[in-house]
């Protein structure tokens, strides 16, 4: 448990009070389903940037672990690869998504193919937006701060999120995101100047870190680096990106918003990477005690920051995680109410019924995430499993839908989703059944599950599309 002063607790409590206030006030702004789902498609540029940047960045504990253990390679694998995909998204997808005037990824799949694709897409979408890794992170942070059991932190954090998300829908989500964005940026940025002043400049890092920490590739193998490169494709099928593009005020704004967001991520990633590296160097120099790599940020912050700033930093870390939990929770709920309930099972549902179903969906999504997070017990494993299955299933049908102008077979879409996800799942399971002496999974042929999953999805799509289209003709 951390030793915090009364002033730090006041900052943290103040943050939660503000979340409740936003939850109370925002309900008045919700007039119809369009407000509840997409903030009336009136998202201005500053809100677009704040909500996208904060939602997309939830894995601060994982980033801390990577930069503490491996150094600069964190910036390559968690930053540079992703910026390239963000730029692709900004220039080739963002404005098209807004122009389509839809609500979700499964909406797009139905437009490209058919209802069956929507149904399957909704299931994979739901898996991808499960906030389980972030719910788990929330439990860890609260247990470090207050010494609580994991489940108490998870329970309290999710209750606050359920409150303002149920009341304000997407509006509640984005206005709390703006607050969380401010706190996470300031909280993380202020630690670097203090670390430089306390420990020294680059000389301190070079003297106390292994050479690999200061190399962009970190001494990793090409395959290890490429796996992260492929995981960056997550962006292309990420529901939170799509939702924010759909909600933008006009169809030119998403591109501009993503480009500005990339600037924020770039500055932020440099801060997080070097904070982890300073923690590692200080630990090696014997001037800092770090209990675990995942919580290295907390250790360095508590050693360097005075009261109030420490509270602000911790609030920034909590905000980073909570802004992702709330957005993903709402996306999961929309999957249940909009994609499945309204568009498949009860087409004549009224706006009120859909809104009520969304509220039930919020509770189902959070409940599912809590169960998953307690089952897996590891943030990185959850990320990896969810990302591998979701990307393998969705990326081929979506990209083909956007970029292939010829005739597309709905059967090819469905079978490609099944083949991609089943293949990567099979690879994952066999890997986890064959662990090496270090406890790492040994995958068939030494290939990470994402590669065979994507290949299977692509080949099945091409084959079925050719055969099916010929038969139709």
């Amino acid at each position: 448990m951390l030793e915090l002063t009364i002033y730090d607790y006041m900052v943290i409590v103040g943050y939660f009070v503000l979340l409740f206030v936003i939850g109370f006030v925002i309900k008045r702004k919700v007039h119809d389903l369009n407000d509840y789902f997409l903030a009336g498609r009136r998202l201005t540029l500053p809100i677009f940037v704040a909500t996208l940047v904060s939602t997309w960045y939830g894995g601060i504990l994982g980033v801390g672990e990577l930069s503490f253990n491996y150094g600069l390679v964190n910036w390559l694998t968690q930053g540079i690869f992703w910026y390239l995909v963000y730029l692709f998204f900004a220039f080739f997808l963002a404005n098209r998504i807004r122009k389509s005037n839809l609500y979700t990824i499964p909406d797009l799949l139905e437009r490209f193919y058919d209802k069956k694709s929507r149904f399957l897409g909704a299931i994979f979408n739901f898996i991808m937006v499960t906030p389980a890794p972030y719910v788990f992170s929330m439990g860890i942070i609260f247990s470090i701060m207050f010494g609580w059991d994991l489940w108490i932190g998870i329970l309290l954090g999710t209750i606050v999120i359920i409150f303002y998300t149920i009341r304000g829908g997407f509006l509640g989500d984005i206005y709390t995101d703006v607050l969380q964005f401010f706190l996470m940026m300031i909280g993380v940025a202020m630690i670097i100047p203090i670390a430089v002043q306390t420990y020294g400049g680059f000389d301190f890092l070079t003297a106390n870190l292994p050479e690999t920490h200061l190399s962009l590739t970190g001494g990793w193998t090409v395959q290890m680096i490429l796996v992260w490169g492929f995981l960056a494709f997550w962006t292309l099928v990420d529901p939170s990106f799509y939702q924010r593009c759909y909600a933008a005020k006009d169809d030119k704004m998403p591109r501009k918003g993503i480009l500005i967001s990339v600037g924020f991520w770039l500055l932020f990633d440099i801060c997080t990477t070097f904070t982890g590296m300073y923690a590692a160097a200080a630990s090696n120099a014997g001037v800092l005690v770090v209990e675990s790599a995942a919580t290295s940020y907390i250790s360095i912050a508590s050693a360097l920051l005075p009261p109030v700033l420490m509270g602000l930093f911790l609030t920034g870390v909590i905000a980073t995680i909570m802004s992702t939990v709330d957005s993903f929770t709402f996306l999961g709920a929309m999957n249940i109410s909009h994609d499945l309930y309204k568009n498949i099972f009860k087409k004549d549902a009224t706006e009120k019924q859909v809104m009520n179903m969304t509220k039930i969906g919020i509770i189902i999504t959070v409940g599912f995430a809590v169960v998953i997070s307690l089952f897996f017990n590891s943030i990185v494993t959850m990320w990896y499993t969810i990302g591998t299955i979701g990307i393998s299933a969705l990326i081929v049908p979506i990209l083909v839908g956007f970029f292939y102008k010829g005739k597309k077979s709905p059967l090819a879409s469905v079978l490609s989703m099944v083949a991609g996800s089943a293949t990567s799942l099979f690879w994952l399971i066999t890997g986890y059944l064959n662990l090496d002496s270090w406890g790492w999974p040994q995958y068939i042929g030494g290939f990470e599950p994402l590669y065979p999953g994507l290949l299977a999805s692509f080949l099945v799509f091409v084959f079925v599309n050719i055969v099916h289209m010929r038969r139709m003709n």
């Binding site: 500053p46 704040a50 401010f182 940026m185 940025a189 670097i192 400049g201 680059f202 500055l267």
Partner: protein, 35 residues
């Protein structure tokens, strides 16, 4: 020059950019309220 100055510039740049974005956020918010 110590590269650490670049790091500090990065952190200060992030703080300044955040305040600029918040300025535009509140400006838009006030504009909406007036309407």
């Amino acid at each position: 020059m110590d590269l650490a100055y670049l790091l500090i510039a990065d952190a200060i740049g992030l703080i300044v950019a955040t305040f600029v974005l918040m300025y535009f956020f509140f400006k838009e918010l006030l504009k909406q309220k007036k309407h």
